[in-house]
């Protein structure tokens, strides 16, 4: 495909040259790439202003007969065009510089490709080079800050966890808002398949270093070809292919360590004591008990047989008293190693790409580790001049030693709640405190270390992604291509919890073992015709085809309890096979699509596309839907009136409008269902599990996009500006219904929302000589607004503080508004915010007693207002430096997951964040931390007190590399030898008080429950050393 396009470009340039000259000379030369000084094949060489041209051969040689005083134009896809005046020479060798001419890049569009210059839709392109060797476990994390309008939140620091990706905002409430991922033409499985805590990320099975490019289809005209699956945008991943010529072997090795980016300060032992004496003292005063009385609250904590006596194993107040920083016990310096080999080559007929990767990455939280072994073979073969065949295939094995979800006592980070007086090791047993034969009820909560030392949970995924194609070229203008893709994912999860974990796994008294099997088989066929022709000034391209996608998920589960000893860990040894299950679910899509592109005089562009989609997810009445799109483009710089403006090298206006759909609601949302899981101690039973809705149909998003692409100063500065509006209607909403019906929710097509935003992309080459400096910048705004939910109450997140409110962005924080602390008495205050009789808002405050009388209001928004990235690349001779910042501004975070226990003025015995030391006291009356009150709410209720600004700018990647000089390495028979140092997440600039502003607790996964921190581990800061050899 790429070759053919190169050819077309060359032909077009030839066609559109019209002026002829007189006296002819023969000119020849060799064309090489400045990147590796290797010859370039297929470079178009055209006599400027004529239709005369040729193409360089396999050795990069060309020969052309040209008028004596003419100029030759050398152009090649992915390289900057160069013009050379003959000036009487007959030999002209040319070195082309890569990348400078972004306009001639080939962009994958889904069932085809297009030259960037002629795109009328909005497609962001990321090259493999931009993301290679980043220490991220899944490729979606690498998108962060790299493309305008693509917001990525890795959620937290656990390895292989689901990542939130939003392209141009959140366009659904109940259906998925994640984009569709298509790898080499096959939509791949990306949803959660885990059975232990947070969502897993099947994209972790893809080796990011195998990727040639990622295209992100953002607007409707780009996306409509994926119809009902494109409303959230589409990410097309294209893997690397072999190049004909010498076989090239490239090996890369990198090693480094990761560490959590931040610690949150918690009270040490002395501070804990001071603080809880205040908290308990308040209660004694309130109850009028002498703090020395054995029944006082003070004595219940500090007295004999009191809280501290018990939880310190009797060491409190003795010389053996300890001061444990639990946070230090659960974080670690985690090594990371990765080795890659890539071999590519081939000849005119057959090209190949082979790769292998071994990745071993340990988590910054104890117990977490991901290893990946992956291999790939991509093969292209030209059987005859009209038939080509090919195969891409990857096999991956991913092992993930997983941690539970954030809201589990066994989440290591929950150890911060434990008492600093509790010894880490029980001196009588020499084991972690809480491990039998020690007292299992110590520490205060389950000791998560026990789940690291005495339990394991490993998910092993075998993934095979394969895609075979055959392409028939009926003529140079007409082709047929058919593809069969398969995505086979087999996952085995095995967990074993020893008896020591019984406080957390109450059924583990004699060990408990679980085993889950998940088998996802996803087939996809694409078949389409493509026709391309030129009639004078008219250029047409037409694509039409069909696609069928079928996915089946089978699961099974066994569980056993009662093991002879903890040496037996397989369920075969379990006395009781205490659980078992198997399930199956399916979905299918049948789609027909067509696209036409029309170009007039190389500057007036029209694109029309449409898709008809049918899905098993909807009732027979609404099974098929039609998604059309139209787009227009006008290349102004080809018009006479702009031709003479030297500074302006390129200017194109774009506009598009079209529809896309969303059907990601799980299977069978339309049916009234009964489930057979309502048995009663061994007798089978059934229950209604879902109320049906026979009228359920697709969610539809209509999107308008206006864009300007420009290039200035010979394209040294180029960019794109876009404005878009996405209107989503008929939301697939899981609406609340009166529970008196026996159901709490029903799927309905209710309501609408919109996303509007600007995107700006700037690329500049600031210095081009020996010292090169280029800058790439993108920034995007997105304003999300729920326009209509017909009065539905949709809530989620920590204590339902996220809410979908009409007229507001999706999932705003909707809770009581904190009004600070009454300096007179330390009471927490909230604004009443109720409506007065005259319609005004009552801004008086209430205390704890009347907390339930306050009106909840919108106090924050988890959706960012701006997202962006800034990459500066410097190089001088062999040295290169890349500095990549990304930023997320205007998003809020709900810290209540931690705050309700840990910044809660001592309501429970949880260790508190250090800022609680500033609690109100008679000698500290001006503060926003209410008085500490043991076992009494005083400001610890849900409120804006816990909503923090989550804006951040992060030095995401800093890479310093050195390419050893050619002269030196050629003696070593090498083509390239590069060493580099790379740092990930080196610095973060934020006001957020929690661990990490890039947070999205895995306890809450719905679209509207974003921005929650629930003892969520922070992202790792990784330092790497790497070595890259090519020969």
């Amino acid at each position: 495909m790429k070759k053919r396009l190169q050819f077309c470009v060359s032909m077009l340039m030839i066609l559109f040259s019209t002026v002829a000259y007189g006296q002819y000379v023969n000119v020849s030369g060799v064309i090489t790439s400045s990147e590796d000084e290797l010859p370039l094949v297929g470079v178009s060489v055209v006599v400027k202003g004529t239709s005369k041209g040729t193409i360089s051969d396999i050795d990069g040689k060309y020969s052309i007969s040209a008028p004596e005083k003419s100029t030759l134009v050398f152009s090649f896809v992915g390289f900057a065009s160069i013009e050379k005046v003959l000036d009487g020479r007959t030999t002209i060798d040319v070195m082309l510089k890569p990348g400078a001419d972004l306009l001639n890049e080939v962009v994958v569009t889904g069932y085809g490709s297009q030259i960037k210059r002629e795109l009328t839709g909005n497609i962001a392109r990321l090259k493999g080079k931009d993301i290679e060797n980043m220490p991220v476990t899944s490729v979606d994390q690498a998108l962060q800050g790299k493309a305008a309008g693509v917001y990525v939140n890795s959620g937290g620091g656990k390895l292989g966890q689901a990542v939130t990706v939003r392209i141009r905002g959140n366009s659904s409430i109940s259906a998925s808002s994640q984009p569709l991922y298509v790898v080499d033409g096959t939509p791949v499985t990306t949803g959660d398949l885990g059975n232990y805590g947070g969502d897993t990320n099947p994209l972790a099975d893809i080796n990011p270093n195998d990727i040639e490019s990622m295209e992100i289809l953002k607007d409707a005209s780009a996306g409509a070809i994926y119809g009902a699956r494109a409303a959230n945008g589409v990410v097309l991943i294209t893997t690397k292919r072999g190049k004909s010529g010498k076989t090239s072997v490239s090996a890369n090795f990198q090693t480094g360590t990761s560490e959590a980016t931040k610690r949150v300060p918690f009270l040490n032992a002395a501070e804990f004591e001071t603080f809880y004496r205040q908290a308990a003292g308040y209660r004694d005063k309130l109850a009028n008990i002498d703090p020395k009385d054995p029944s006082s609250y003070t004595q219940s904590i500090f007295g004999k047989d009191g809280f501290l006596d018990y939880y310190s194993l009797g060491t409190y107040g003795t010389p053996n008293q300890v001061d444990v920083d639990w946070q230090e016990k659960i974080f670690r310096k985690a090594p990371m190693n990765q080795a890659d080999v890539q071999i590519s080559g081939g000849n005119d007929k057959t090209r190949f790409f082979i790769s292998g990767q071994v990745l071993d990455q340990k988590g910054t939280l104890i117990g977490n580790e991901l290893t990946r072994l992956s291999s790939r073979l991509n093969l292209d073969h030209k059987a005859t001049d009209w038939l080509s065949l090919g195969l891409t295939m990857s096999l991956t094995r991913t092992d993930n030693k997983r941690l539970p979800d954030d809201n589990a006592f066994s989440n290591p980070l929950q150890a911060v709640a434990l008492t600093p007086f509790t010894p880490f090791t029980d001196p009588t047993t020499g084991l972690p405190v809480g491990a039998p034969p020690g007292d299992v009820n110590i520490p205060l909560y389950y000791n998560p270390i026990l789940s690291i030392d005495y339990a394991k949970y490993k998910a092993t995924v075998y993934r095979n992604l394969a895609n075979a194609y055959a392409q028939v070229n009926f003529s140079s203008k007409f082709l047929f291509r058919t593809e069969l893709g398969m995505d086979i994912l087999n996952q085995n999860e095995e967990g074993y919890f020893q008896s020591q974990t019984v406080r957390n796994q109450s059924r583990a008294a004699n060990g408990i073992g679980v085993n889950y099997g998940t088998f996802v088989t996803n087939y996809n066929t694409n078949s389409y015709f493509n026709y391309l022709n030129t009639f004078g000034d008219h250029n047409v391209e037409f694509t039409a085809g069909m696609s069928y996608n079928q996915s089946q998920t089978l699961t099974n589960f066994t569980e056993g309890t009662g093991f002879p000893s903890d040496s037996y860990r397989k369920i075969a040894s379990a006395a009781t096979k205490s659980g078992g299950s198997s399930t199956e679910t399916n979905f299918r899509f049948l789609s027909y699509f067509a696209r036409g592109n029309y170009k007039l005089m190389d500057r007036y562009l029209l694109g029309v596309s449409a898709r008809i989609d049918g899905s098993s997810r909807f009732g027979a009445n609404s099974r098929y839907s039609f998604f059309p799109a139209v787009s227009l483009g006008w290349i102004l710089t080809d018009e006479n009136f702009l031709k003479n403006i030297k500074a302006l090298s390129f200017l194109k206006l774009r506009a598009s409008y079209g529809g896309t759909g969303n059907s990601e609601v799980g299977n069978f949302p339309q049916l009234g269902l009964v489930q057979g899981d309502a048995g009663y101690v061994g007798i089978a039973g059934q229950r209604p599990s879902q109320i049906g809705n026979p009228n359920l149909k697709w969610e539809t998003t209509f999107q308008t996009d206006f864009g300007v692409d420009f290039g200035l100063f010979n394209n040294r500065l180029s960019g794109e500006i876009d404005y878009y509006e996405k209107q989503t209607t008929g939301l697939l909403l899981e609406v609340n219904v009166p529970a008196t019906t026996g159901f709490t929710r029903q799927f309905r097509n209710v309501g609408a929302l919109e996303n509007k935003g600007f995107e700006l992309v700037l690329n500049s080459q600031n210095f081009v000589g020996d010292f090169k400096w280029s800058t790439s910048f993108n920034v995007a705004t997105n304003a999300n607004k729920v326009t209509d939910i017909q009065g539905q109450i949709i809530e989620g997140g920590i204590r339902n503080m996220n809410r979908v409110v009409e007229g507001q962005p999706i999932g705003v924080f909707f809770t009581a508004q904190y009004a600070g602390v009454d300096p007179a008495n330390g009471n927490a205050l909230w604004y009443k915010n109720t409506k007065n009789a005259d319609g005004s808002i009552d801004r008086t405050t209430v205390t704890n007693a009347d907390y339930s009388k306050v009106e909840r209001v919108v106090v924050g928004n988890p959706n960012p207002k701006f997202v962006g990235g800034l990459t500066n690349t410097f190089s001088y001779k062999g040295i290169d430096l890349t500095v990549f910042f990304n930023g997320v501004l205007g998003s809020d975070i709900n810290f209540y997951g931690v705050g309700q226990y840990g910044s809660a003025n001592g309501i429970y015995e949880d260790n508190q964040t250090k800022d609680q030391l500033n609690a109100w006291r008679p000698d500290n009356t001006i503060t926003d931390v209410p008085e500490a009150r043991y076992l009494r709410s005083n400001g610890s209720q849900p409120s804006s007190r816990y909503i923090y600004d989550g804006s951040y700018i992060r030095l995401r990647t800093l890479t310093l590399g050195y390419n050893l000089p050619k002269g030196l390495i050629s003696k070593m028979k090498l083509e390239k030898l590069r060493v580099y140092l790379s740092a990930q997440n080196l610095a973060t600039f934020t006001k957020y008080k929690g661990w990490d502003p890039e947070v999205n607790s895995d306890t809450f996964t719905s679209n509207f429950a974003q921005g929650n921190d629930f003892y969520t581990p922070p992202m790792p800061r990784t330092l790497l050393f790497g070595l890259n050899v090519t020969f």
Partner: protein
């Protein structure tokens, strides 16, 4: 490209292209079935009936309804210093502090689970014509039992006590008596009055008692329905009917007080999972099915006793233990500390993770009959003093010769401690919870906020 190749290629391509797979979009679910086919045979309806008991088991480890929720909510809301709640569930902490908000998740969970189970009952009752004739009467009786018991509990928790003002004007909860097939505006039902709900409950429970067999495995029996009626009548202050109903349970002779007292609890640990003979009705739990919500919050892990579990949130205070008379060495010692050095004391009643959750024990019937007879001056079945002595004898206490109402109520409190009676007994005896009067608004649960939000016909309780 040769012509013939062209034709072959085009033919194959067209074949691939036009292969029809439209019928492949008809995919049916596999582990769930369409509701149309789920209620077509007698067996289907009976499976639905089993589902109603599953409903009572609770949908979460909190054991939302009879698996714990009803019971511990009553104990927490009525507590005035005998329990210290030390857990992190703020919904329970708020109940214990009498500072409930309208989005309290316990108030919501119980409501949602109760109505989900009521819908299961209604499905059974709406499909009785499918049931084999020999089973029809029993199936109807069981479904009515479950539905009536749930409406009774909803009325007790979410509405004013019977007799607190005008029963016909006080709102209770919406009565839904037919299965839900679709959802429309008519499902935004207003609250029926306390009088209407009690009338429905008594009608249904009376019919259940008539329909149910004396023995019915672990499911509802004639005795269970009579016992529930005794509870309902006692709550209404209808002592004649309460004494008569309790007497039917005792006189039926099916149930016996067990000795030792400890064998009445922790059924998996003490009896291998069998129902003790004094259980008139209990929510069954085993290691594969069900939750014991009482264990979740009242229980704790005792290292020395495998099979024990629990969050250890309900710490029993000296104020409670001091209530037992000195001679009551069995019940006053029915408490445990996880270890010698532990600060916290827990009741021994709910340590067993897989213990059944008692809903009605026979001793309640003796205590109800005694109180009802005493108040009326009657001796239906036995004299009050004899009934009280029956309960006392089982725990090794000497018989009493004289009796006061206060003495009967105290015996009831201690015998049935932490089993969910406290709140309702305080309300019907017009006692108080600390400084809160028996009819305080704070002792009534709020209609869940989610329900108020989606159903404009519902009116919130006056305390919220």
């Amino acid at each position: 490209m040769k012509k013939v190749q062209f034709i072959y290629s085009l033919a194959i391509a067209s074949l691939l292209f036009f292969v029809s797979c439209a019928d492949r979009l008809d995919v049916l679910p596999t582990q769930t079935i369409d509701e149309q086919v789920a209620l077509s045979t007698s067996k289907d309806v009976e499976a639905f009936l089993v589902g109603t008991y599953d409903g009572l088991q609770g949908g979460s480890a909190n054991g939302d309804t009879y698996a714990g929720g009803f019971q511990y909510t009553s104990e927490l809301l009525a507590d005035a210093g005998e329990i210290r709640f030390g857990g992190t569930f703020s919904n329970l902490l708020d109940i214990w502090n009498k500072a409930i908000t309208t989005n309290n998740s316990t108030a919501e969970g119980q409501w949602v689970r109760a109505y989900s189970t009521i819908n299961r009952c209604n499905n059974v009752l709406g499909a009785l014509d499918k049931v084999t004739d020999t089973k029809k009467v029993r199936v109807e009786g069981e479904a009515l039992f479950v539905r009536a018991a749930l409406y009774f509990e909803l009325a007790r928790f979410y509405a004013k006590q019977w007799g607190d003002g005008d029963n016909a004007a006080n709102p209770a909860v919406p009565l839904v008596l037919t299965p839900t097939r679709d959802i429309s505006d008519k499902d935004s039902r207003p609250r029926n009055s306390v009088a209407e709900v009690y009338a429905q409950v008594i009608t249904d429970m009376t019919k259940a008692e008539a329909n149910l067999p004396v023995a019915n495995g672990v499911y509802a029996t004639k005795g269970a329905a009579a016992a529930m009626l005794a509870r309902i009548y006692l709550q209404q202050g209808n002592y004649t009917a309460a004494a008569a109903a309790a007497d039917r349970v005792i006189a039926g002779g099916k149930y016996k007080l067990v000795t030792p007292f400890a064998n009445a609890f922790n059924t998996k640990l003490t009896g291998g999972g069998a129902n003790p003979a004094e259980y008139v009705f209990a929510i069954q739990v085993n290691d594969q099915d069900g939750f014991n919500g009482m264990n979740t919050f009242f229980g704790t892990t005792i290292g020395a006793i495998p099979g024990t579990a629990g969050r250890g949130d309900m710490r029993i205070q000296p104020a409670h233990i001091a209530l037992y008379e000195a001679a009551d060495t069995i019940r006053s010692k029915f408490f445990i500390k996880p270890s010698a050095s532990s600060t916290n004391v827990f009741t021994y009643k709910f340590l067993d993770r897989f213990g059944h959750v008692p809903v009605i024990r026979l001793s309640e019937m003796y205590l109800t009959r005694a109180e009802a007879n005493f108040r009326q001056g009657t001796t239906v079945g036995a004299t009050p003093v004899s009934d009280i002595n029956t309960v006392r004898a089982r725990v090794g206490l000497s018989p009493l010769t004289t009796l006061t109402l206060a003495g009967i109520l105290k015996e009831r409190k201690l015998e049935l401690a932490f089993e969910g009676f406290t709140l309702h007994d305080i309300k019907r005896t017009k006692a108080s919870v600390g400084t809160l009067a028996w009819n305080s608004d704070k002792l009534i649960l709020p209609i869940p906020q989610r329900e108020i939000d989606v159903n404009k016909s519902l009116k919130q309780n006056s305390g919220y």
